[in-house]
């Protein structure tokens, strides 16, 4: 998993004067499941379109297996796309849809028939070959779109929010299906979604994007546990983001109270942002934590209770399996390794992010 299969180098793209992608660099390793994650309009589809060859960047290069393919038309690229809205050929049967790429490549009829059968089985739609796309449900059409792409045995599969139109249950089923497919076929997936849960569940690597900039690249665990800036922290799951002061190494002052932490090298008395995940906020009996507060809201969420605790002028978001009724006096404790320290935004880009929230 160490070869750089695809290398996007300093890609820029603007439409009608507005910048969509700004000097974006990113590499994808062989066999990786890489997810582009970000809010609507942040440039995910545009990035994918540049990879697929449907759009050419204003600046920068696309390297595929060491070769510059920036100017190569889509039909000459060794990758296939599953489009955001399926894009099946409505005038052809399911079997003809799946066979399309193979017929173009002049494969034998026997080979094509085998492949159709295999692909339909793979996506659990055995026996649908003679149906027309219009007669299938959204989820089934989506699976056909995937089958149509994978029979060509691409090195890389680009998937643009392939599960966006499906309901929750089907989406979860399909997530497992896709992971199974990927392991079975051993191909590289570049996946686009704006659903952070989906990204965390499925990916080897997540690329968090906002307004055409990459905010952070990392494993799901890293992105979740150690967000590099307030945008990532806010976008990935719920979190408490608090203005704080780093007193010195391993000690931070949050809302006037001192908390031990594990971060070093931020300097002394330095303003920072602190991120604490709601499930990492521990509620104790009054006097037994670092900060006193009172529960102001309580909602049952199924797996846990969601509570809001007012303490030192800040509304803390807390997830806990233990229930504390509204009005309960509590004390807040956070383990040192659950406190994530982030530098205050300095660059213009990060400033833009902060304003945007």
């Amino acid at each position: 998993m160490n070869n750089k299969l695809i290398d996007l180098q300093h890609i820029s793209k603007s439409y009608d004067g507005s910048i969509i992608l700004d000097d974006l660099s990113l590499y994808i390793r062989e066999n990786e499941f890489l997810t582009l994650l970000g809010p609507s309009g942040c440039g995910k589809t545009t990035t994918l379109r540049i990879l697929g060859g449907f759009e050419s960047p204003d600046q920068g290069r696309v390297i595929f297996g060491g070769e510059d393919i920036t100017k190569l038309p889509p039909n000459k690229r060794q990758l296939n796309t599953v489009f955001q809205k399926y894009a099946l050929f409505t005038h052809m049967t399911i079997a003809e849809n799946i066979a399309f790429g193979l017929k173009i490549k002049n494969k034998s009829k026997a080979y094509i028939d085998d492949k159709i059968k295999y692909a339909l089985k793979l996506v659990n739609l055995d026996g649908y070959g003679n149906r027309m796309p219009d007669s299938l449900s959204g989820g089934q059409q989506q699976r056909i779109a995937i089958a149509r792409a994978i029979v060509n045995e691409p090195k890389v599969l680009l998937l643009d929010e392939p599960l966006g139109a499906l309901d929750l249950k089907l989406r979860q089923d399909m997530q497992y299906e896709l992971i199974r497919l990927k392991n079975e076929l051993g191909i590289t997936f570049i996946y686009v979604t704006h659903d952070q849960e989906e990204a965390l569940t499925m990916s080897d690597t997540i690329v968090v994007m906002n307004q055409g900039y990459i905010q952070q690249i990392g494993t799901p665990e890293r992105i979740y546990n150690e967000p590099e800036n307030a945008f990532v922290a806010d976008f990935i799951g719920d979190s408490n983001i608090i203005d704080s002061i780093m007193l010195h190494d391993e000690l931070v002052e949050i809302l006037g109270a001192k908390f031990a932490c594990v971060d070093k090298g931020f300097g002394n008395n330095k303003p920072v942002d602190v991120v604490i995940r709601p499930e990492d906020v521990e509620l104790r009996e009054p006097g037994k934590g670092s900060m006193e507060g009172v529960v102001t809201h309580l909602i049952f969420k199924g797996v846990h209770y969601e509570m809001e605790v007012m303490a030192n002028g800040f509304e803390w978001l807390v997830h806990s399996t233990a229930m504390f009724p509204v009005g309960t006096k509590v004390s807040i404790h956070v383990d040192p390794y659950n406190i994530q320290i982030m530098n205050k935004p300095v660059s213009e880009d990060e400033e833009a992010v902060a304003i945007n929230e």
């Binding site: 697929g52 894009a87 099946l88 409505t90």
Partner: protein
Amino acid sequence: MNKKWLATPYLFWAVAFIVIPLLMVVYYGMTDKTGAFTWENVIAITSPEHVKALMLSLLLSLISTIICLLLAYPLAMILVAKHASKTSFIVMLFILPMWMNFLLRTLAWQTLLEKNGVLNGILSFLHLPALNLINTPGAIILGMVYNFLPFMVLPIYNVLAKIDINVINAARDLGANGIQTFLKITLPLSFPGIASGITMVFVPALTTFVISTLLGGSKILLIGNVIEQEFTTASNWHLGSGLSLVLMIFVLLSMVISSFFDKDGEGAAL
């Protein structure tokens, strides 16, 4: 809710101007001067001069339809590919003549093509030999193409505009080059528009008598002219109606074929 009564005015209109005239054509076509039933007027189509006129009509409208298709398809593709705002000049170029009276437009071509008309004037100014343009089948085809081209462009434009760009992209993605994508995706998906465009050009071209009168002179008789003359100069309504019924069969035939390709009425443009 019952809103059927809203259709009442239309129903009156349809009965008064479609059903009654149609019944009258059938009545006249199936009777002789004494009012007795006869097939004679319909069978009259087999007389040599009628066959000749019908064949010529079929041939000229077929050629015009093909020329319209060949001109309209690329044009519709260009219109779809560019944003309409950028091509509004081209659109205007095609729409503008449609605002003029049909007769006026055709008369304009008569003036242009005449022996001492504008075109030959330019040619003689350039010391080139004059051309015999007017009163030829070519002039009639020109008039048909000119008048009916928009009816081919619009339905084709309509279906092309509805094709999702990602369907085209998907074909390219799966390895098809530009030509393969056109032949396997764009063209089949636009069949409904082509079919309805063909009917919308072929039917009026087959039945026209104005274009052939103005641009074909009295020498070239199309079936439309023959029928018109039966009604006007010859005052033989029975024969005129009988021949009309035959022509109607051809019109219906072309519409049936068209609706076979355009099952969902997708190409219905106007």
